[in-house]
């Protein structure tokens, strides 16, 4: 059996900020992974570990410090902003901070239709309106919202505008950076069901960044865990939840709050020692088929 070719392939990606200064940050520090067509790769991990930066590198909002990003086999990491235009309708990002990512002077209908206009995807105003209304309904808003401005919406409603905008151009690949954390659980469930429906219908691929591990578990085929600029573990979803190997993953899973007051009040969390997280001889390697762990060759032996 041959595995499908990846739609996105990230190789030794590095993104450093404030290089050479006392506040230098190695936001992303040599990570490699593939995303296959039609799958959802969940990206979870420590706040500040480089998840959004990874997303922003892939969609080329940043120029990577080092490494390579392939989209459908083509290296896009060196493309100039202008050359990226061709990819913009194929690759979309739902941003973590919905307020900062919506132009406050634009009406919602124009925000959503921007991609349609740029890529000439609608023939006339009627068709444009129709499509915008369709998209609003899809994310559980209504046409009354079309003529409003972003500040007139709640946090969760803004997030849904960002989702509608991303879906508008019918992309192949979506980077969803915390697309649902601002929504109530019932709308979360609606959006997640919706994302899955569209995925099935259109064969979409997702990179799904989130902190809600029960939602991530539900939506992802595979999961990568980031810590301090590195991927420390990556595996199929069930495998990762049932057999977490890295201490950080174990700590993270143990900290998921349970919606049950009695047991939650005695909740114990596995502590992770942040003082010396990495050793020089460690790297991300496949310790059992499909299960990747950041460890040394010596450590890997016990799993093989």
């Amino acid at each position: 059996m041959t595995k499908k070719d990846p739609i996105v392939s990230v190789k030794h990606l590095k993104q450093y900020f404030n290089v050479g200064k006392p506040d230098e940050v190695k936001a992303v520090d040599d990570i490699s992974f593939d995303i296959y067509p039609g799958e959802t790769l969940g990206l979870v991990g420590e706040s500040g570990s480089g998840k959004s930066t990874t997303g922003r590198d892939i969609i080329r909002l940043y120029d990577p410090t080092d490494g390579e990003i392939d989209f459908e086999g083509k290296n896009i990491s060196k493309l100039k902003r202008k050359q990226m235009k061709d990819f913009r309708s194929q690759m979309q990002m739902i941003f973590q901070d919905p307020y900062a990512s919506l132009n406050p002077r634009m009406k919602v209908e124009d925000i959503i239709a921007e991609g349609l206009d740029i890529n000439h995807l609608v023939k006339n105003a009627d068709e444009r309106d129709k499509r915008v209304h369709e998209l609003l309904h899809l994310v559980n808003l209504n046409e009354e919202h079309a003529s409003r401005y972003p500040y007139e919406f709640s946090g969760g409603q803004r997030q849904r505008i960002g989702i509608a905008r991303a879906l508008a151009v019918k992309p192949k690949f979506i980077i969803a950076d915390e697309p649902i954390s601002a929504l109530d659980v019932s709308v979360q469930a609606q959006v997640v069901n919706l994302m899955q429906d569209i995925q099935e219908k259109e064969g979409l691929t997702y990179l799904f960044i989130a902190h809600d591990l029960s939602m991530v578990k539900y939506i992802s085929d595979r999961i990568a865990v980031m810590y301090n600029g590195k991927i420390v573990e990556m595996a199929d979803t069930d495998e990762l939840y049932n057999h977490p190997l890295h201490k950080y993953t174990q700590s993270l899973l143990s900290a998921v709050p349970v919606p049950d007051p009695h047991s939650e009040k005695q909740h114990k969390i596995i502590k992770f020692d942040h003082s010396k997280p990495f050793k020089d001889d460690q790297y991300l390697q496949e310790v059992t088929p499909g299960h990747w762990l950041y460890c040394s060759d010596e450590e890997a032996k016990q799993y093989k």
Partner: protein, 349 residues
């Protein structure tokens, strides 16, 4: 008797929009006891943020308070002078707002921003205030906090910005802390750390907290009481146990039912079908009517009053009227309850 620090009565708020007047908050009343944590949960767009922003008297240009009072220390906040409000805001009552970027000044480094409440409200020297700011930034878990004091907000990750806002809100030991989704951008271990920090604050100086979140696991952990909002109204409130173990309102059922759990294995998530009503013309009866599969005819015609379930627990649903047919909560809710019970018993062994 617990002492009330904050008492919101009959609050109603309108927004003027091009399409008409949005009646966003409709007759909301609740109170906050000293030292307690009240969780405000509910539908996205139901008015949680608007309600708490009003306590801080942060109003949008097109916003009008049409009715209501907010008592704080024996005075109505809604009638305080601007000068008095400036003293209260960020001092006695502090808020962690939902969009960290909107409450951070992009042109000011984070050290100065976090230190500002101490400078303004306590008249502290710059040097001392910055020293304390560094300590609080370390407490909320900003790595290399001391080295990064001179960095600007855009240089931090979403969750780090959120923690910077938290640091700013707690630095001056507020009496009332309003936390609007303070942990949504945080990973669960940092979230646990922040929750612990807030609990310590509560134990140390008796801070009362209003905590807005969509994460019912967090509610289970931190809340003493819970109020559930839908379409501009509170539809149910009670102790955290009342709401999780004995929910009464069909919207609360729907909400509890939509949560995936780590132990769950199903193909599709439960949702509440339909969309919330347009609040330009709010329905005459119960706003949840159209989406409520247990709705009675009267729900369509008349708004349900609050029915008393127990001394601590009230719900606004006609299902609690003596004349209503007896309904049992959906099976999945009962299943969850059974699971809770089992776990509870196991924990005791």
């Amino acid at each position: 008797m617990a002492q009330k620090v904050l008492d919101v009565k009959d609050l109603s708020i309108d927004f003027d929009t091009l399409n008409g007047t949005v009646k966003a908050i409709r007759d909301v009343s609740f109170h906050l006891d000293k030292g307690e944590t009240l969780a405000l949960v509910g539908e996205s767009g139901s008015g949680k943020s608007i309600t708490v922003r009003t306590i801080m008297r942060l109003l949008a240009d097109n916003e009008t308070i049409t009715n209501g009072t907010i008592d704080f220390e024996g005075k109505d906040i809604l009638k305080e002078s601007k000068k008095e409000m400036d003293k209260i805001r960020g001092g006695k009552i502090a808020m962690i707002s939902q969009d960290p970027m909107t409450s951070l000044d992009p042109t000011m480094n984070i050290g100065n921003q976090v230190a500002e409440p101490l400078r303004v409200h306590e008249g502290m020297s710059k040097h001392k205030a910055l020293e304390q700011a560094a300590e609080v930034l370390e407490e909320v878990g900003i790595p290399n906090a001391r080295e990064r004091m001179r960095d600007y907000p855009h240089q931090f990750s979403g969750g780090q910005r959120q923690r910077i806002v938290i640091a700013m809100a707690i630095i001056d030991n507020p009496d009332v802390l309003i936390a609007d989704e303070p942990t949504t951008a945080l990973d669960v271990t940092v979230q646990a750390q922040i929750i612990k920090l807030l609990k310590d604050l509560k134990d140390k100086i008796g801070t009362s907290i209003i905590f807005i979140t969509h994460d019912l696991g967090v509610v289970a952990n931190i809340a003493d009481r819970v109020a559930v909002m839908y379409a501009g109204k509170i539809v149910e409130y009670g102790t955290v146990d009342d709401i999780f173990y004995n929910p009464q309102h069909p919207y609360t059922w729907g909400l509890l039912d939509s949560m995936p759990t780590l132990s769950m294995n199903s193909d599709r998530l439960n949702t509440i079908p339909g969309t919330p009503p347009n609040l330009i013309n709010p329905p005459k009866g119960d706003a949840f009517y159209a989406r409520n599969k247990y709705a009675l005819k009267i729900d369509h015609e008349k708004q349900p009053p609050f029915f008393k379930v127990s001394d601590t627990h009230y719900a606004a649903t006609w299902l609690l009227d003596k004349r209503a047919p007896k309904v049992t909560p959906p099976e999945s809710i009962q299943k969850r309850q059974a699971e809770f019970k089992k776990r509870g018993e196991a924990d005791h062994d």
